[in-house]
Structures are given as structure tokens and as C-alpha cells.
């Protein structure tokens, strides 16, 4: 590629300051040095994730159990969504390298095309990550349950549909006999998490109380993830017993017996560290992607304006390309260590 790389130049000329021993421009070399330092930052984060995981006594969340949803679809699709995100990023990396290649032929039209497509891919990835975060924060239908003996379990099964809330005690907004049919699931999970559900009576925000008309949950499996007293990690409780134990927690009226989703203090998927590492590592990477998209956009304006064509070379595209490939490279590792292993 680089012309000088293949030519033999005597060592004195090379290292004497006449030429770069790497036969590369200052800008490109400095981009590489920056990427090395950034790579070390990401390595530090991922390796400390490994450290936390190795010293944890309980059971660490498993990728295919935690990430199994797709937008607009119900059902179980383990890892499909994150595989899609990975694919989007790989493809945008390919369009980037094609833009660089077109730049070496001084083909402005093709550089514009491929760089624009790279930016589109980048936006798709950032959008996908936004959905992933939203899903991670809001959580599943069942959440994570703390059983009567103190052990904790993740729950799988079919969630019985909530038909309505029938008001039995009037509050500020609702009169006795009102049937509330809106925003049921959200109200329900919020009340369960806060301990505002007691013996199938929900206490709403306005102080009114209502009877929950809900179909029964079926096919529940309680998968023990945290040792309590009676059960050990890996135990599975099924059938009527599982339903009864889950209902006991829902109707206990105690706060935090069931945890939905994730925040900075707790999460339903596993230990607190897990959620924090998820937010930090994918967030830090997502921010890199976002800034990469912005830099690509600026360079695209330069390409369209003919700045680099006038300059005689498209090395700016090459440099932003290096950064963009790096972002893809980091995701390859995040994908493996956060989702697969």
C-alpha cells in the first residue's frame, strides 16, 4: 500500500530524521498511538469485569438468558438482537474500508457513497443500543423474585394477561367501581416492586385501592440464582409450587421482593456489579460509536466540499476510518465477553 514500505532505504536516512522509519504520515501514526491508549482503557474495563466475575461467589448472569428479546416481537430469541447489532457494525466497517479504498483511487463519488453508508450504519447501531438499554432498564415481565427463604430466582413462563383494576377504595382520581384499563402492566410492575400489592389488591398513586383482575401465570420456572436458606444455586422449581411461591412474593406487600430491570442500585439479572459494568462498558463504547459517527459526518462534509480532493489525497478518510474500525474492534471483544462467555 504505502509506497515507501516496499522500498529499501538505508537505516541512517530512516532514523536520522530525514524520513519516518515507519514511512507513514504524522497524523496517521498519532491516530495509531491514540488507539493504543484507548485500547488499553477498554482492556482495563473488560479485564476488571473479568476480575469481578472471577471473585463472585454467586451465579453470574448468562448472556443467552439475559438477552433474548427482539423489538416488536414476543418470545425467546437468545442473542439474536445482539448478533444483529454486531453484524450492523461489521458491515459499516466494511463500507468504511471501501471508502478508504476509493479514496486511494481519488474517486470522490465513491468515497461519498461509502462514507455516507458508514454513517447510516453507525446511526443504526447507536439506535439499536438505545433500544437495548431501554429494554435492560425496564426489564422482563416477571422480574427477579426473592423467595420466602431469602434465596433469589429468575423467572420464566407465560405472564397472565391483566384485564383491569376494579377500584374498591376511592382515591383522588378514581371512584369505587371504576374499571381502570390503561397502562396496566406498567402500574402493576411498579406497584409490585414498591410493595403496593397485597392480597391481589393494588394501591395506586392517588391512594385508591383496586382489585387486580388478572389471568393466572402459567408454566412458571423459578431458577435459583442466589443462595437463601432452603434452596441452592441451580435449583429449579416448577409447576403449581412455583406459581404459589411467585404469587406469595407478589402479594406480600413488601418492597423489593421483586425487582424489575436495572438501575444504578440493583438489577434483576444478577449482582449489582453486573448492571454497572453493563452500563459503563456498553455506554463507553456507545459513546465512542456516537463520536465516531459525528467525526465521520464532519469528514463527509469535507469530502463533499472537495477539501481532500484539492489536497491531493484522502488521508483524512483513512484516519477517521482507523478510529471507526477500532470501534468495531472493541465491540468484537465486548460481544464475546459480555454476551457470549
Amino acid at each position: 500500500m504505502a509506497g515507501h514500505a516496499s522500498k529499501q532505504i538505508d537505516a541512517k536516512t530512516l532514523w536520522g530524521g530525514k524520513m519516518s522509519p515507519f514511512s507513514t504520515s504524522y497524523g496517521k501514526l498519532m491516530m495509531w498511538f491514540f488507539l493504543v491508549s484507548d485500547a488499553l482503557t477498554f482492556s482495563g474495563l473488560l479485564i476488571s469485569y473479568g476480575f469481578t466475575r472471577h471473585d463472585y461467589l454467586g451465579s453470574w448472569p448468562i448472556g443467552e438468558e439475559t438477552f433474548h428479546s427482539l423489538p416488536f416481537l414476543d418470545g425467546n430469541y437468545p442473542l439474536i438482537y445482539v448478533a444483529l447489532m454486531t453484524f450492523i457494525l461489521i458491515v459499516s466497517s466494511v463500507t468504511m474500508v471501501l471508502a478508504v479504498e476509493a479514496g486511494h483511487r481519488m474517486n470522490k463519488k465513491q468515497v461519498t457513497k461509502w462514507l455516507a453508508l458508514t454513517i447510516v450504519g453507525g446511526f443504526f447501531f447507536v439506535g439499536s443500543q438505545a433500544w437495548e438499554w431501554s429494554h435492560f432498564i425496564h426489564g422482563t415481565e416477571f422480574g427477579r423474585v426473592e423467595l420466602a427463604d431469602g434465596s433469589q430466582a429468575i423467572v420464566k413462563g407465560n405472564f397472565g394477561e391483566i384485564k383491569n383494576f376494579e377500584v374498591t377504595v376511592a382515591g383522588h382520581h378514581h371512584a369505587v367501581g371504576d374499571k381502570i384499563t390503561e397502562d396496566l402492566k406498567h402500574e402493576y410492575t411498579h406497584a409490585v416492586a414498591e410493595g403496593h400489592v397485597h392480597n391481589e389488591i393494588i394501591t395506586l398513586h392517588d391512594g385508591s385501592q383496586a382489585k387486580i383482575n388478572k389471568a393466572a401465570n402459567t408454566d412458571l420456572i423459578l431458577d435459583i440464582k442466589e443462595f437463601g436458606g432452603k434452596y441452592k444455586i441451580g435449583d429449579k422449581i416448577e409447576g403449581a409450587e412455583a406459581v404459589a411461591m411467585y404469587e406469595e412474593a407478589v402479594n406480600s406487600g413488601e418492597k423489593n421482593r421483586i425487582i424489575y430491570g436495572a438501575n444504578m442500585k440493583q438489577n434483576e439479572y444478577g449482582p449489582q456489579h453486573y448492571g454497572q459494568f453493563f452500563f459503563f462498558i456498553t455506554g463507553f463504547h456507545g459513546f465512542h460509536v456516537f463520536s465516531g459517527v459525528m467525526i465521520n459526518l464532519i469528514i463527509l462534509f469535507g469530502v463533499i466540499g472537495g477539501v481532500y480532493h484539492k489536497r491531493g489525497h484522502y488521508e483524512m478518510v483513512e484516519k477517521t476510518g482507523l478510529y471507526w474500525h477500532f470501534v468495531d474492534l472493541v465491540w468484537v471483544f465486548v460481544f464475546t465477553f459480555f454476551y457470549l462467555v
Binding site: M1, A2, H4, A5, M19, S20, P21, F22, S23, T24, S25, G27, K28, L29, W32, V36, A39, L40, S43, G44, I47, G50, F51, H54, D55, Y56, L57, I62, E64, P78, L79, A83, F87, I90, V91, S93, V94, M96, V97, L98, E101, A102, G103, H104, R105, M106, G312, H313, E315, G321, H325, F326, D328, L329, V332, F333, T336, Y339, L340, V341
Partner: protein, 125 residues
């Protein structure tokens, strides 16, 4: 002012249409490899979930995941980022310091994590 002691390396990057055809072929080949590896990883993750396989099998899967990841990373760095086309000296300047730090950190932190795990198992409960 024009300076004659600075060499414009940026202009050395150009290549002809014919070379471009060859380069694009390589790019699409690498794309196919990366896609196939990712698809393979996901397929293994779905078909052999951790909860369904024995510990030994899972360890084997884990190691193969890490190997496949390194293969993918090598293709991205050497081919897409063109580090493979750079001078040997530059390759080493980029890669060697990184690997020294990263491997040492892996060694230290994973060992320490395991040691803390052992201590907690012994004394915590």
C-alpha cells in the same frame, strides 16, 4: 513556504484501478469471514446454552469463543486497518506495548480474582 525536508507520505497511498479491484476482493473475503465467524458464535451460543452443557464442554466452548474473537480482531486490525501493510517496525511499536500491558493485566487480575474467590469460599460463610 515550501519545505523540501518533509516527505509527504500521504501521497504515497494511491493505487490504480486494477489494484483496487484486487483490494476490494480481499475486503469482501474478510467480510465473509467475519460474518461467518459471528454467525457461528451465535449458533453455538443458542444450541449449547451454558445451563444445558457440562462444565468441561462449556470450558471448551469458552476457549473457542476467545480464539474466534482473536481471529476476528486480527482480521480487523491487519486487513481493515491495514496494519498488515505497514512497516514491520510500526507493527511492533503498535502491538508489542499493548500486548505486554494487556497480558500482564489479565494475568494479575484473573489470578487475583480467583484467589479472592478461594478466600471468600473458605472464610466468608
Amino acid at each position: 513556504m515550501l519545505r523540501d525536508d518533509i516527505i509527504e507520505y500521504s501521497l504515497e497511498g494511491h493505487h490504480s484501478e486494477e489494484e483496487g479491484v484486487k483490494l476490494r476482493k480481499t475486503i469482501w473475503k474478510v467480510t465473509a469471514i467475519l460474518t461467518i465467524i459471528t454467525a457461528l458464535e451465535v449458533a453455538v451460543g443458542i444450541m449449547f446454552p451454558k445451563s444445558a452443557v457440562s462444565e468441561g464442554v462449556w470450558t471448551a466452548i469458552k476457549i473457542s469463543y476467545i480464539v474466534l474473537t482473536l481471529v476476528k480482531a486480527a482480521y480487523i486490525v491487519l486487513s481493515f486497518m491495514h496494519l498488515g501493510d505497514e512497516r514491520k517496525a510500526m507493527r511492533y511499536v503498535i502491538l508489542v506495548p499493548y500486548f505486554i500491558f494487556a497480558l500482564y493485566l489479565i494475568f494479575v487480575l484473573i489470578n487475583e480474582g480467583n484467589a479472592i474467590f478461594a478466600a471468600l469460599t473458605q472464610y466468608a460463610s
